[in-house]
Every structure is written in C-alpha cells, then in structure tokens.
C-alpha cells in the first residue's frame, strides 16, 4: 500500500489525504470541485527526518 499524502486543490483550496506514489498511474481529481489541479504536498524536511 502506498503512503498517504496530503493533496491541495489549486482551484477550490480543498485539502484532503489520499494514497500517493510518485510512479503511480492514477488520474486525480479534487473530491469537492472535480478539478484536476490537485497538488501533492511534499513532506517537509523536518517531518521526513522525524519519520526516519
């Protein structure tokens, strides 16, 4: 199972969490406004270090 990532819709601003893998083959759409402009949030360096 892919790790969950926070996504932000760059049209309506809605934020949600979904599974995400960089090499995935998934067409994404905002669950609220159906826009395809959804941006995965990059893990912050401090968070990544914490996880390690």
């Amino acid at each position: 199972m892919s790790p969950k990532t926070k996504f932000k819709c760059l049209k309506c601003g809605h934020e949600y969490v979904e599974e995400y893998a960089p090499d995935e083959d998934v067409e994404r759409a905002c669950p609220k406004c159906r826009s395809n402009s959804v941006r995965p949030e990059k893990p912050k360096k401090a968070d990544a270090a914490k996880e390690e």
Partner: protein, 623 residues
C-alpha cells in the same frame, strides 16, 4: 481453423509465445518461442495410443476441469495441428525416463523426450493482435457461493456440459448427483456492471445476455420439461435478430425476473438451492427453489495483456482492454503504426462482431502492405546531433520507443517511422536538441507573443491537446455553450509537448492564468505521454512557488473531446480566478521571470557556442 492450417501462405505457429518485438511499421522483427511439444507434429497421426497407455491423469483445462486428460494429450478435439503434446509438468519424468509408455506404443516414433524450445525470428510488416479474453472467476462473490455449492456452475461450465463434445457428451446433469436438473436458474451480470463494490467490473460484458437466451432455448429443446428462470438487471438484446431470439425464449416459457438474488442457500440433503431475490418490477421478494444455478459470468482481459502492451507499445483502457487509435475513425488501429487489434482483445464482443473486426484489421494490414512503402508523419521529432549530449532522457519518455541513444557517440536519433509526433521528447530535452516538425519551440513562442501582445491581463492562456481538449473546446463551440471570451487557445499535439519554458514564457508575457489541458489518462492518444504532463506541472508548481508566484495561477485539466460542458465550466471557473489575479502579481511574475529568462538565454548561448566549437557529430536519421 482447418483452412488456416492448410493455407499455403499462412504459417500457423501453435503452442508458441511472442517473446520480443522490435522494429517499426513495415519492418517488425518478432522473436517467437516455439515450445517443445515432445511429439513431432509432422509425424503424429492423432491415433491416441499414447494417451491410452499414459498413467497420469490431470484435470482437462478445455473442459474447465469437468473431466480429465492424460499427461500426453490433444488440447481439444478440433486442434490444429492435430498433434499430441506432452505436458512435462505432469509427465512422470524423462530424465531419467521413469515411464516411457507413450514412446513404447507410438508406431510412428513421434515421441521425442529431448525436444527443446525453439526461438524463431520473423520479419513482418504489420502485426494484428487477436489475443482474445478470459472468463471472470466468480469465486470472490460470496453471495453466489461458487465452488462452495456443487450445483452452482458458471456459464462456461454449462457450455461444456451441454456440448455434445463436452465432459458428459451433451447429457446435462447436476455435478452433485449426476441427475438431470428440472429447475434451473440463470443469474446475469456476474462480475459485470458492478458500480458499487470493489468486486467484479464496471463494464457490460456484452455477450452474456444473448448467451443465456441461447442456453435457455437449448435447454428447452433438449429437456422440454425443465423450468428455466433468468434473474437479470436488463436484457441487452441489441444485435440483428437478438430481440426475436429473446422473445422466442419467453414464448417457450422461460421466466424472466428483473432483480438479482442477494443470497443462495443450499439444502444439505437434497443439495437443492434456494434463491432470494426481489422482483423490481412488482416489488415482490420471494425465495425460490432450484436444482441448479448457472452464473452468467462476464469476460475480462487476458492476464498477459500487460506483456503484449509493453512489447508492442500499446495503450489500454481503464478496463484493461487494448485501446484503438480512434473509436470511430480508426477502430482497429492502435497508437503504434502497423499494429492492429481485433476481437475481444479490444473489448468484449460476440463472434459476429469479432469476425467483422478481424476482417477490418486484415484489410487495414493489406492496405499497408500493398502500399509498399510507408510515408512518415511530417510532425515527427528530429534531434540536432551538435546539441545532443546523449543523456537519453528523450528516449526514456518516448512512449513509442522511437529514439535510439548512442552512449558512445553521445548522441541520439529518431526513427521517423516509429515517431508519432507527440512532442514529449521536445519538452523533456534540457539542451534544445529536439525540434518538432511543424510544432517548433519558436512557433509556440511566436503564438504566445501574438496572443498576449495586447491586454494580456484579460486573457486566460490555454494549451490544449489536439485530440481531446482542443476538440472539447470545439464541442463547446458547436454546442453553443456560453463561456467567457478570455481563453486564448494554443493547440499542441499532446499536452506532454508543453515545456516548462512555454508556461513560464506565457507568465513572463503577462498571462494572469495559464491552463494546461489534455486527454483523460485512459484516452491518451500517445499511450501514456500525458503522465509526463503531470510530472512537469508538479515541477512547475514548485518552481512558481519558489519564485514567489502563486501556483494556483497554473491550472491543469483533463478534458475529453466530448467534454464540451466541462470545457465551458472550466473556463467559467478560471475566468473567476483570473479576475482575482492582481496587477502587482502579474508585474512581479513578469519581472522575476524576465530575470530567469535572461539567465536561460545566456546558458543556451554558451551551450551553442560550445557545441559549435566541438568536433561535429555525424547527423544520423533513420526513417
């Protein structure tokens, strides 16, 4: 099949697998593994003496496990060539020979335990993919108790039971007690049209309704006293003569109940089955008793479709079936030139439709072969060897494997016959070495300049792919849908052609909002090129943020050719976003990007100067 086997100009390679496909239209090189049969097919007379003495008994795949075969066997009665095969996984062993009975009785001395797989290399002009489909396994659907109750069978098992050449020689009997069932239920859409759960498939399997209608008529013909009941969602009898057949089935006394059973219960003593279902036409919920239940199972793509997809650079729909180049105008072509598809490899269909499509594919293949030569597209990519560093990034992203990289000479070249002109390589190259015919970088910059020359702040700059989004805009237009006048649309062959520089240049020229739009993932006309679009847009969002430009000003949308409504809606929404972009924001973007642009131009000039000073590389173009 006999005709194919006998045809002087058709070489039939049964029991063989395609291992590799190279080359391009008119010049494919196919590597085929001809598996060892351990029986010389040219000498075998199918006398069956070997099978008679073989001591090994295994389930017969052709009879879906309802009967058995021997380790040496004929795959099915009408097999071409009519020669036996030894199943080496089941055979008692040849090294050392533990049994050898088949060899002892074979008068023609056909058995050859030392036979090896053979690799055959073929040179062909075109490839037709007719790999068929597989049948859905309903074991995962707990409510139907398949494999838990003996008398719940699939439509494929029904076929083998009712067939004269089947496991019971056409005597239709219950698996539990070998008695002829009197009350038979058929359940439709098993594994098909399932929109709710995660089991089964969403699509209609196309053939199951008429298969059941035919089965009920067969039963009524063979066993006039039997009662048939069909549980269905809708009966889809849309083909020529199908409605008549359906009506005949009803007139013959077959009961049709609109509603699928929620559960099946078995009487442990009689092994009879009780189905609870609601008739959605009357609202009546009733439990009915049957002797046997037939699950009308749907069809699924072959398990090895992904391998064929990879070998031939094909694309598939979300369902996993191979995708045609165009649903109306090129229904048997694929995105790869010279490769055609037909039958259930493309989508579930019946025999008549499969034959029609196979004839079409054969005709398309003949047209190409008879032409003698292939004309390359004018929009293909070309690589400037002086600028190319041989990094290979372009080859990595090419969906058609049309780019050959020579690491030693630090260069790459495009095989024009394979290139379809998506422009993904052009957008990926960091060294400006790729030129797209008729869609050059300079042409795009000129279009951006022209469209944003006046009142740039009032415009929504839109890149639309040729096949879907641009057609979607057309659709919105011809449907007279209302949307703001702000969009300025530039056509690209694929959304993957849109380079990061095009987007940044548009912002530098004062565009308040830029939209990149392309085909939905499943519809990409360049197999999977638009996945690169996503990656590029992700990078651009990061870059814009770093430069202090709101990433929201770059939008991404997948709009299909039929999505005129979506195009209009997106344009209305983006127009609202455009109004919120302030003059200060536009000026800031223009300023910081102009600085970036200067740096970029300086880098390019330096690179070109260096390339000019280097020893010239030979220009290699293969077409």
């Amino acid at each position: 099949m006999m005709d194919v086997g006998r045809h002087p100009r058709i070489e039939l390679m049964a029991y063989s697998e395609v291992e590799d496909v190279g080359g391009y239209v008119g010049n494919f090189k196919v590597k085929v593994r001809k598996k060892a049969r351990y029986v010389r097919e040219e000498d075998c007379t199918s006398c069956a003496e070997c099978a008679r003495v073989c001591p090994v008994v295994v389930p017969d795949e052709f009879q879906v496990g309802l009967s058995s075969r021997k380790a040496v066997y004929l795959p099915f009665p009408q097999a071409v060539p009519a020669a036996y095969i030894i199943d080496m996984d089941a055979c008692l062993g040849t090294n050392p020979i533990a049994c050898g009975k088949c060899e002892e009785v074979c008068e023609k001395v056909c058995i050859d335990y030392d036979m090896k797989d053979e690799i055959v290399e073929l040179e062909v002009g075109v490839v037709v993919v007719a790999t068929g489909m597989e049948v859905y396994d309903p074991t995962e659907l707990d409510e139907y108790c398949y494999t838990r109750y003996d008398n719940v069978i699939t439509s494929m098992e029904f076929e083998r039971l009712i067939c004269a050449g089947g496991a019971t020689e056409g005597h239709f009997v219950r698996p539990s007690d070998h008695e002829v069932p009197q009350r038979i239920a058929f359940i439709q859409c098993v594994g098909s049209r399932n929109n709710a759960g995660d089991k089964g498939n969403r699509y209609c399997s196309n053939i199951c309704c008429m298969n059941t209608v035919k089965d009920t008529l067969l039963l009524r013909d063979h066993y006039p006293d039997c009662e048939c009941t069909v549980f269905y969602m809708d009966i889809r009898a849309f083909g020529k003569g199908f409605e008549d057949l359906y009506m005949r089935s009803r007139e013959e006394g077959v009961k049709y109940i609109r509603g699928l059973p929620g559960e099946i219960r078995q009487d442990p003593e009689t092994r009879n089955l009780f189905l609870t279902a609601e008739n959605t036409l009357t609202g009546e919920v009733a439990e009915r008793e049957f002797d046997m239940v037939v699950l009308s199972v749907g069809v699924i793509p072959r398990h090895d479709s992904p391998l064929i997809k990879k070998l031939l650079s094909l694309s598939t729909t979300g369902d996993g079936f191979f995708m045609e180049a165009h649903p109306k105008l090129k229904p048997v072509d694929t995105p790869t030139r010279g490769v055609y598809i037909c039958g259930c490899a493309e989508s579930p269909k019946d025999v008549k439709d499969s034959v029609t499509q196979a004839s079409a594919a054969a005709a398309r293949a003949m047209t190409l072969l008879n032409a003698g030569e292939v004309t390359a597209e004018a929009i293909t990519a070309a690589i400037d060897p002086a600028l190319c560093t041989g990094c290979g990034l372009c080859a990595k992203v090419c969906p058609f494997n049309a780019i050959v990289v020579d690491k030693d000479r630090k260069t790459a070249w495009v095989v024009s016959a394979m290139c379809m002109g998506c422009g993904n390589c052009g957008a990926t190259c960091n060294f400006g070495a790729v030129t797209m015919g008729h869609f050059t970088d300079d042409q795009y910059y000129a279009q951006i300049d022209a469209l944003l020359e006046e009142n740039a702040e009032d415009k929504v700059f839109t890149f639309a792919c040729n096949w879907c989004s641009y057609a979607g805009a057309d659709n919105a237009g011809i449907s007279r849908l209302q949307y703001p006048a702000s969009p300025r649309v530039v056509r690209t062959m694929c959304s993957a052609r849109v380079t990061e520089d095009f987007v940044l240049y548009a912002f530098m020229k004062g565009a308040p909002v830029v939209l990149v739009s392309g085909c939905h993932f499943a519809d990409c006309h360049y197999i999977d090129a638009n996945r690169q679009t996503v990656k590029r847009v992700y990078r651009l969002w990061d870059k814009l943020e770093k430069l202090g430009i709101r990433p929201e000003r770059l939008q991404l949308e997948w709009i299909s050719a039929a999505d005129g409504q979506k195009f209009a809606r997106v344009m209305r929404e983006i127009e609202e976003m455009r109004k919120q972009v302030t003059a200060e924001e536009i000026e800031h973007a223009k300023k910081v990007l102009a600085e970036e642009w200067e740096k970029k131009l300086a880098r390019e000039a330096k690179r070109k100067k260096k390339a000019g000073a280097d020893e010239p590389k030979d220009e290699v173009q293969v077409s």
